[in-house]
């Protein structure tokens, strides 16, 4: 059960939140000019990486605000949470403590 730091409320129990998949996908400005493949990519395709993942969360049973989190999908360590519109934080996946397990110890 994660402990998640909502950028507005602080640390709260996971049960107050919902996850909504990959973050930093911008809605295309001119959808009509996109090829089938480009539009399909935007609507359907999401990354599912092993390791570092930037993803969207919403504090649904709290302030109802959206935010982004950088999470390691192997260890479930959340490196950082940040508000929408803020840039992706730089994460060192080779970090000996919080990086991917194969790089540890």
């Amino acid at each position: 059960m994660f402990l998640i730091k909502c950028p507005w409320c602080g640390e709260r129990d996971q049960s107050e939140f919902h996850a909504h998949g990959e973050a930093h996908i911008v809605r295309p400005e001119n959808p009509d000019q996109l090829s089938e493949e480009e539009w399909g990519d935007y609507v359907f395709f999401r990354k599912n990486p092993k390791g570092l993942h930037y993803e969207r969360w919403v504090h649904s049973h709290g302030c109802r605000r959206w935010f982004n989190a950088a999470r390691n999908t192997i260890t479930d360590h959340i490196y950082a949470t940040y508000k929408p519109g803020e840039p992706k934080p730089e994460i060192d996946v080779n970090d000996p403590i919080h990086g991917n397990p194969e790089n540890q110890r």
């Binding site: 129990d13 996109l34 403590i97």
Partner: protein, 1004 residues
């Protein structure tokens, strides 16, 4: 037979307090401080269970939560609980327990025939037998259901209450043995908030069963001093009788406290209390569990862990045998041998080691304990449900064979000591990685998962000596306190202990007998709880179940309620032996919560009935109750389904309501519709993006119907939105979709358009809504207000605010029945007043309240869709025949681009049509499949399915809507609907609008 095995002195029981209890209808006595197991052993009862599969007689095997055999049915009636471990249940006055999985009795069990035919019950028996032919499953099932399982669950409502708490602490210490006590003391002194949790009623862990001396005193006194010191600290909570059952991410743990059961009668306290703990640091001092040895017929009642015998002697003052054979591969059995001998029993140690040496061995010999070396038990003589003796034979150098003659020995109890297994369940649950240590012959913690901060101490990481446990505990407690912000923490001083050094064990995982394993009559059990033998593992390996996870499931090793606490390492080692691999190569399975079973009561806690799920009731609910409404669940809402009059069934009520609503005036409680107040200069921009049609021209006071799509172009909600003023809108949604739509708007506004000035507020519960519909609805409303209601002053799709029956209201001229209708919204607190006023004024018009079923029929008569019923997540507006609502001019909106995707723009997609059955009185089943050509049996070409189907009194026949492939082009065709009972019905494809002027005339 009164406590014939009770020693005259010793033990942590209160001999002044006799406790009467019943077991299998026998009245027995024990002492306060006894567990059910110790009290049964004190009374000479060894046989307590029948095994899971073969129904072999089984006895008490351990003295703790790892017990695989002694599972009993505790109490009867509503309070009965199956599968309780007799080794954990504390006896109380009037306790009643019985053996389970046997009939007619544990001593004479007819199911034991399974043991005679065990050759027919190999590993994977169920999979093999019941795969084919499938039709026979129903025959087998009755017998399997009867034979399988353990105890019986209660049928009545649980009369006890259960509590649930969220708690936080700096340092959580799991296990109150020597390491845990030292950890809690070190952390507690630093000022950190400490919780010390142990599953037993007494602190001390392994010290409870030992004769150790600490600081020159019996260990129990040192334990009491530490517990007293901890209890005196306000920042420390000591919780006995509490099991940490789960260790999850981010140091979140679940602990279950048995609050009041041991007190006997219900006394107003909860039975159990579940704590959800968030700890900054967790010190695991969970100890270790002794391993069995796998020899021939090692499951007989009277075979016990050597450490368990020692615990019964030292903690409970019970000597469960008089002639005891202890079989061992290491030194720890000698500790038991010495204590048992002092208690007055004859002891022989059968040591499988070739030349055991060391302090403990010498001590034992000096006390007259007979030691046989390099021998193993080859036969257990068992008769009349008792052990009568054993035969031993010499082991070969590689330990794989026996040789020479068998020598026999009389005994009534066999103790086994196969080394120790660190209790790493919680560590592993929390995704900590384990490592197999060849030198220690066990798995030990290697590294923790990053989010689960803490330390391990003591024998849970294979530190076997007492001094080591005490010192590691102190260090871990101090380190945990420091890591949680208490910089001044320091390790507690180490008390003085002296103990004998222990020598090496001989790791023989399968002990041979006088016939090959799996061939002769004797069985080698590595897993007692689920009756799995070495022969089963060999069979699994032969059949290709090599992965340890497959092995586990195929042989059901470790899958019982004991989670294989005593069997796990032996199973892996046996697999390694059979496959000629090392144990690390075989691997280990993952431990999962719970450590010991949790009751449903504990998991549920307070969250029962209304406290589990609130019923949402509309403001007018009391009026519906008074009218005798039958309710339907819509989300959490209770909505009137229909309003039966005396003697009416549902069909009759709905037909009457439908006719009345069209004939004069009907009234519906529409309060559950989702309502969102939208304000801000960019509100119009938002509506244009989330709806398919254009909103720019909508004037204040005017309403518009809209469809919402996801980016895939599929319909997910609909509703009417009204412009209240410039930059101010009132949006309605489906009743079930209210929260979803609110979330959808917020998601886009916050993540994609954060600069837009729009504010959305859910006002669903702020408004009570009564809809009046039918030709006389205008006349009715005009009697309750002064506002002009004529077509010109109050046209269709407009809204006006005025008083209705003296109540400030927003009245919308919109319609879901296709007839003249008004939706009257008033502040929720006036809901009852409005409803009563309308009902009273409507009396002369024969006003008829109608429920959701009539609402569905009325809308279907006009071909109005219900999103989620007639559509699902694969339906576009075009599929619904609603091209008219998709703006071609306004530019971009959510989902628009997807209309030109090749799959979405196909013209032969499933499309919404009407169906008329050949027999006008036949109502199709919703969900029934529509096929082009009817054949004798499947497969048939599927064209689609029926989405809505009703008997319509206004059309005068049954009507249905369906999603059909290429439906628009099939209008006029006759298709077939296949029905559940194997019959079929011919249907004509039509427009999904049934009540037209023509049909009205025809039916009247």
């Amino acid at each position: 037979m009164s406590q014939s095995n009770r020693l005259s002195q010793g033990g942590r029981v209160n001999r002044d307090k006799v406790i009467n209890f019943r077991y299998d209808n026998k009245s027995l006595q024990g002492y306060e401080g006894d567990t059910l197991a110790s009290a049964l052993l004190a009374n000479g009862i060894t046989l307590v269970a029948r095994s899971f599969k073969y129904h072999r007689p089984r006895g008490i095997y351990t003295a703790g939560s790892e017990e695989p055999n002694a599972l009993v049915q505790l109490e009867s009636g509503a309070r009965t609980e199956p599968n309780r471990r007799a080794t954990e249940v504390e006896i109380y006055e009037g306790l009643s327990a019985s053996s389970q999985n046997c009939w007619p009795s544990v001593n004479f069990d007819l199911g034991a025939i399974n043991a005679k035919v065990s050759r027919l019950l190999p590993a994977g028996f169920y999979y093999k037998t019941f795969m084919w032919p499938a039709s026979l499953w129903t025959t087998y099932e009755k017998f399997i259901r009867k034979a399988a399982g353990l105890g019986k669950s209660p049928n009545e409502l649980d009369p006890d209450s259960y509590d649930k708490l969220h708690v936080h602490c700096d340092v959580l210490v799991v296990g109150a043995g020597p390491a845990g006590l030292q950890a809690a003391l070190s952390a507690g002194r630093s000022g950190a908030r400490v919780m010390l949790i142990d599953e037993k009623p007494l602190a001390g862990g392994a010290l409870l069963g030992s004769t150790d001396v600490i600081d020159g005193e019996p260990a129990a006194q040192w334990v009491q001093k530490v517990v007293d010191a901890l209890t005196a600290m306000p920042n420390v909570t000591v919780l006995p009788r509490t099991t940490v059952t789960g260790y999850y991410d981010y140091n979140f743990l679940i602990a279950n406290e048995r609050v009041s059961e041991h007190k006997g009668k219900p006394n107003g306290e909860p039975k159990e209390r579940l704590r959800k703990i968030r700890a900054k640091q967790v010190v695991l001092a969970t100890g270790s569990i002794e391993r069995p040895l796998v020899f021939a017929d090692n499951d007989r009642p009277g075979v016990m862990l050597a450490s368990a015998i020692r615990t019964y002697v030292n903690r409970f003052g019970v000597l469960p045998g008089r002639n005891i054979a202890l079989m061992t591969n290491n030194d720890s059995a000698y500790l038991a041998a010495i204590d048992i001998k002092s208690a007055g029993a004859n002891v022989t140690v059968i040591d499988i080691r070739q030349n055991p040496q060391g302090e403990l061995v010498e001590q034992a010999k000096a006390q007259g304990i007979k030691v046989e070396t390099n021998r193993t038990i080859s036969t257990v003589n068992f008769g009349a449900n008792k052990i009568k003796g054993i035969s031993t034979m010499a082991l070969s150098d590689d330990g794989r064979d026996v040789s020479g003659g068998a020598s026999s020995l009389e005994c009534d109890l066999i103790g086994v000591a196969g080394g120790w297994t660190p209790t790493v369940h919680l560590y592993s649950q929390a995704k900590g990685k384990l490592e197999y240590r060849d030198d220690l012959h066990c798995f030990v913690p290697k590294f923790r998962s990053q989010n689960n901060h803490g330390f391990e101490a003591g024998s849970c990481q294979a530190t076997w000596d007492l001094a080591g446990c005490l010192s590691e505990g102190a260090e871990a407690g101090a380190a945990a306190a420091k890591a949680s912000g208490f910089e001044n923490a320091s390790a507690a001083e180490l008390p003085a202990v002296s103990e004998a050094a222990q020598s090496e064990m001989r790791p023989l995982w399968i002990l041979p007998t006088d016939h090959p394993i799996g061939i002769g009559p004797k069985k080698h059990f590595h897993e007692l709880h689920n009756d799995a033998t070495v022969a089963d593992i060999a069979l699994a390996a032969r059949e290709g179940f090599l992965s340890v996870e497959h092995l586990k499931r195929y042989t059901t090793t470790g899958m019982g309620t004991d989670q294989g606490k005593t069997s796990n390492v032996n199973a892996l080692a046996v697999m390694a032996e059979i496959r000629q691999k090392t144990i690390p190569e075989v691997g280990t399975t993952t431990f999962r919560p719970p450590f010991t079973p949790l009751t449903f009561g504990s998991i549920v806690g307070h969250e029962r009935r209304e406290l589990f799920l609130q019923k949402r009731k509309t403001a007018m609910h009391p009026c519906h109750d008074a009218a005798g409404a039958v309710y339907e669940d819509v989300g959490d809402w209770k909505r009137p389904f229909y309003f039966p009059k005396a003697g009416e069934n549902m069909h009759q009520a709905v037909q009457r309501e439908c006719l009345a609503a069209r004939k004069s005036v009907g009234i519906l409680d529409a309060s559950t519709l989702g309502k969102i107040d939208i304000q801000g200069p960019d509100a119009k921009k938002l509506l244009n993006m989330v709806y398919t049609n254009a909103w720019s021209q909508l004037q204040p006071g005017r309403c518009r119907y809209g469809l919402m799509l996801n980016e895939n172009g599929m319909v997910f909600d609909d509703g009417v939105t009204t412009c209240l003023a410039e930059n101010h809108y009132h949006m309605t949604t489906t009743s079930g979709g209210a929260a979803r739509v609110m979330g959808w708007l917020e998601e886009w506004l916050q993540t994609e358009w954060p600069s837009w000035q729009v504010y959305c507020t859910s006002v669903t519960e702020q408004w009570a809504v009564a809809t009046i519909t039918g030709p006389n609805s205008r006349a009715l409303l005009s009697e309750l207000c002064d506002a002009p209601l004529d077509e010109e002053s109050f046209p269709f799709m407009s809204m006006k605010a005025f008083e209705v029956a003296g109540i400030p209201a927003r009245v919308f001229r919109i319609s879901f029945t296709g007839d003249l209708a008004f939706e009257i919204n008033v502040p929720a607190r006036y809901g009852v007043a409005l409803w009563k006023a309308l009902m009273a004024a409507g009396e002369k018009h024969d006003i008829c309240p109608y429920g959701t079923e009539a609402m569905h029929v009325l809308r279907a008569e006009k071909g109005f869709i219900i999103v989620g019923q007639d559509s699902d997540a694969t339906v576009t507006p075009m599929d619904l025949g609603m091209d008219w609502i998709v703006s071609k001019k306004k530019g971009d909106f959510l989902g628009r681009r997807s209309f030109t995707r090749s799959d979405t723009s196909r013209t032969d997609r499933k499309q919404l049509v009407g169906l008329l059955t050949e027999d006008p009185n036949f109502v199709l089943q919703e969900g029934a499949h529509v096929v082009a050509e009817l054949k004798d049996k499947p497969p048939m070409e599927m064209l689609g399915h029926v989405t809505s189907s009703y008997m319509s009194p206004n059309v005068g026949r049954s009507i249905a809507m369906a999603m059909i492939k290429d439906g628009f082009n099939r209008k006029g065709e006759t298709l077939n609907v296949a029905l559940m009972d194997g019959s079929s019905q011919k249907v004509k494809v039509t427009d999904p609008v049934f009540l037209t002027e023509a049909s009205k005339e025809a039916s009247s």
